[in-house]
């Protein structure tokens, strides 16, 4: 099994999808001959031609508007937004058009074939416009699917599933892990299910929930916790919309404790959604308050990035507090 980093796995998934179905089209800023700012679309233009992999003008609203039109006409567009921080110019197209297309037309038309790929998250000293995690804005919108992989294997399997899924999907790629996360990835075509969480590790004392780049941070915190004799169950949600409530509920019924972590600011973050649902369904079994370990309620800072990020020590603290409550 070849070893790939996350970019290679994503490139590989795009290659497989384009080879299999000529309706799959990749476009975005600099994705053509340049291969995208992170090189996720390297060689695709050379392989599939300028008609199926091409550069767009610097207009996010245009990219997604165009993608909606293509998808409504039966194409399978995979649009790249260069940084998730710049997805907001396309916000109206996504939440008002993409998400409502099928509903509005009574399924006469839909844009289910659309996939929006976009790198998110901090840890690369990117400053306030290249580090944000805007997933929660979109989880508020029915009609979308939202997926976040945690490593190359997940990225390939989930991206192929996203491209082939019958609903529009926003695929958030943890850019800090693009080259940092390396692992074995099967060369062949495979898919991982959307909407299903992945129990990475079973445990009995506390449940830890996260997604994307935060899973690596959770891993480090778990090492500290297990050294302290605390048995952790670790769940990667993988999909935020829809999210796998049952898996998390089952785990919290077992452990009685929950820590949720994400990079985005706390207020209005998706952890709040999870906490509320778990509180509703596991109320009588909670041993301690559900804890959130998140980014700060500030713009994403440049020099204070390490302060801002929810690191393994902050998560470990939350675990200790929860267990010692």
């Amino acid at each position: 099994m070849p070893t790939m980093n996350m970019l290679q796995a994503i490139n590989n998934a795009l290659d497989i999808a384009m080879a299999e179905d000529e309706k799959v089209i990749c476009f975005g800023e600099d994705v053509g001959i340049f291969g995208g700012v992170f090189r996720a679309t390297s060689n695709l233009q050379g392989k599939y031609g300028k008609a199926r992999c091409f550069n767009t003008p610097l207009v996010e609203q245009g990219i997604i508007g165009f993608a909606n039109g293509l998808a409504a006409q039966g194409s399978v567009p995979v649009a790249e937004i260069q940084f998730a921080d710049y997805i907001f110019p396309a916000f109206d197209q996504i939440v008002n058009e993409t998400a409502k297309f099928r509903y509005r037309s009574g399924d006469l038309f839909n844009v289910g074939g659309l996939t929006i790929r976009t790198p998110y998250g901090g840890g690369i000293s990117g400053g306030l416009y290249h580090s944000q995690s805007p997933e929660a804005y979109f989880t508020h919108t029915p009609g979308l699917k939202i997926v976040v992989p945690r490593n190359p294997y997940q990225a390939k399997g989930l991206l192929l599933a996203a491209i082939r899924d019958a609903d529009p999907v926003i695929f958030f790629e943890p850019k800090r892990l693009y080259r940092a996360s390396v692992g074995e990835v099967p060369e062949e075509d495979y898919q991982l299910p959307l909407g299903e969480a992945d129990i990475i590790k079973e445990g009995t004392d506390i449940t830890l929930v996260g997604w994307g780049a935060q899973m690596e941070v959770i891993g480090k915190a778990v090492e500290l916790a297990e050294e302290a004799g605390i048995s952790c169950e670790v769940i990667d949600l993988r999909s935020l919309l829809p999210w796998d409530e049952d898996t998390v509920v089952e785990s919290v019924l077992k452990t009685g404790r929950l820590v949720i972590t994400h990079e985005a600011p706390r207020t209005g973050g998706f952890a709040g959604e999870i906490a509320t649902t778990i509180q509703e369904r596991c109320f009588l079994y909670l041993e301690s308050p559900i804890a959130r370990v998140t980014g700060l309620d500030t713009p994403f800072p440049l020099t204070l990035e390490k302060e801002y990020l929810p690191d393994h020590l902050k998560i470990f603290e939350a675990i200790r507090e929860s267990v010692d409550f």
Binding site: G229, L253, G256, F283, P289, L313, E317, V323
Partner: protein
């Protein structure tokens, strides 16, 4: 504040039963003071304090199971200055301190009722504070939840956990109760607020007893139920393993110990002069070690995959002791090197320790052959089960004065002792055990012959 983790006390033991707490929450402790007695699979072990300080919390109830590497009790060390701690481990210590503090803050904020909340005594100024135990809910501890399901009415919810609303949990914590000791009247054993209030009114006396007889009420009708634990549980397991995996070959013999008894009578005063009580056991052992030297296969074992014979160089003779806790088999090490007097001292030491159930792990490990002196309690014959992985065991029956013929055909009065061997028939056949037993018998019937082999 530190948690004392239950250390790994023996080979592969992962849990043990808390037999007796010698301290209570809030007690001041000295370094090396006995804190708790736990019963492992093999013996009672006394755990002592690692340093002086004050006990703040006992995580495991008497009669419950404690897990190795899980917290057993929490204490504040004498030199533990909490947050003001600085130095090499300062960072970690501070972290822990902050956690405590944050936990306290967030809890109080959460409850919004801090005056009813029993104040946790200040870690930072332990001298001035009264020794008040930290009022936490033991049901919150890591190891508690899983095991308790067996001991209390609790655990009808998913994964054996007790459902209770956070408000009820607060109430329980305020009164320093345990969630799982309160019978829940709600669905799936849910503990309701009324259950806690009723419990507080009636007092804990009745409910606490559930520890040793979980199904007390039901069991009263026909039989008394007692969980099989500790040494007894291990005996049950080991005996089944041994009896079902090792083909036992049984071999019985009579030994005339008239001479041996006489010899013992002569030696006894000398032994007593050296403050040692001389029983027959040291003589049996010494003779056994001599016989084993001639027939090493008896002092061997089969390796686990049964393709090699492992001969022991030492002759470590186990002696089955009927202790209060159950069957224990401590062994006397290197009998082949010891004098009879030295063996006698070892036997006395091990017997006393085993009767108390406080045998060191080292004394229980490494036996190579065993003697079961069932005759001390009565009974002429027994069919012993091998103490695996050893290859042989002998049960010694009681000695009786019986008529026997001497060389001239006259009837004489002789002290006759019966012995019954069990050997691992994969390793030992009838001939081997008969020859070996004859050799042993030779030394016992003519004990002076052992002199020839004085080292």
């Amino acid at each position: 504040m530190s948690d004392f983790m239950l250390p790994d006390i023996g080979e592969g033991i992962v849990e043990c039963e808390v037999v007796e707490w010698r301290v209570a929450e809030g007690d001041i402790i000295e370094e090396d003071q006995p804190i708790v007695e736990v019963m492992t699979d093999k013996a009672l072990v006394e755990i002592t304090a690692p340093e002086a300080g004050r006990i703040t919390r006992l995580y495991v109830d008497k009669g419950s199971i404690a897990k190795v590497h899980a917290p057993l009790y929490a204490y504040v060390g004498e030199n533990d200055s909490g947050e003001s701690d600085s130095g090499e481990n300062g960072a970690d210590e501070n972290k822990a301190g902050e956690n405590e503090q944050n936990g306290e803050d967030s809890r109080q904020a959460q409850l919004g009722d801090s005056d009813r909340e029993p104040k946790r005594s200040d870690v930072g100024s332990s001298e001035s504070s009264t020794p008040q135990p930290a009022p936490r809910d033991p049901a919150n501890t890591i190891e508690a939840s899983a095991e308790q399901s067996a001991t209390a009415s609790a655990g009808k919810g998913p994964y054996g956990r007790v459902p209770a609303s956070p408000a009820v949990r607060r109430l329980i914590r305020e009164h320093e109760l345990r969630l799982d000791s309160i019978p829940g009247s709600g669905k799936q054993g849910r503990v309701l607020k009324e259950d806690v209030l009723d419990y507080l009114e009636q007092g804990p006396s009745d409910n606490r007893q559930g520890q040793t007889t979980p199904d007390k009420n039901r069991a009263d009708e026909e039989f008394r139920v007692e969980p099989l634990r500790g040494i007894r549980a291990v005996m049950a397991k080991r005996m089944v393993e041994s009896a079902t995996t090792i083909p036992h070959f049984q071999f019985g013999e009579e030994i005339d110990v008239t001479e041996l008894l006489a010899l013992r009578e002569r030696l006894k005063p000398q032994a007593e002069a050296r403050e040692t009580r001389l029983t027959l056991m040291p003589l049996f052992m010494k003779a056994l070690a001599l016989a084993v030297a001639e027939h090493p296969i008896i002092n061997a074992r089969l390796n686990p995959v049964a393709d090699e014979i492992h001969y022991y160089t030492a002759c470590n003779i186990g002696m089955a002791v009927d202790s209060k806790a159950g069957l224990l088999v401590p062994n006397v090490k290197h009998v082949e090197r010891l004098s009879v007097l030295e063996i006698a001292r070892e036997v006395a030491r091990l017997t006393a320790a085993a009767r108390d159930g406080r045998v060191d792990q080292a004394d229980l490990k490494g036996g190579t052959i065993s003697i079961s002196n069932i005759g001390a309690l009565g009974g002429t014959y027994a069919a012993p089960i091998i103490n695996a992985p050893e290859a042989a065991i002998v049960a010694i029956g009681k000695t009786q004065w019986l008529p026997r013929f001497d060389a001239e055909g006259n009837v004489v009065k002789r002290a006759i002792m019966t012995v019954t061997w069990a050997g691992d028939h994969r390793l030992i056949d009838g001939g081997a055990i008969a020859r070996f037993c004859n050799s042993w018998k030779g030394y016992l019937e003519a004990p002076e012959s052992m002199l020839l082999y004085l080292g």
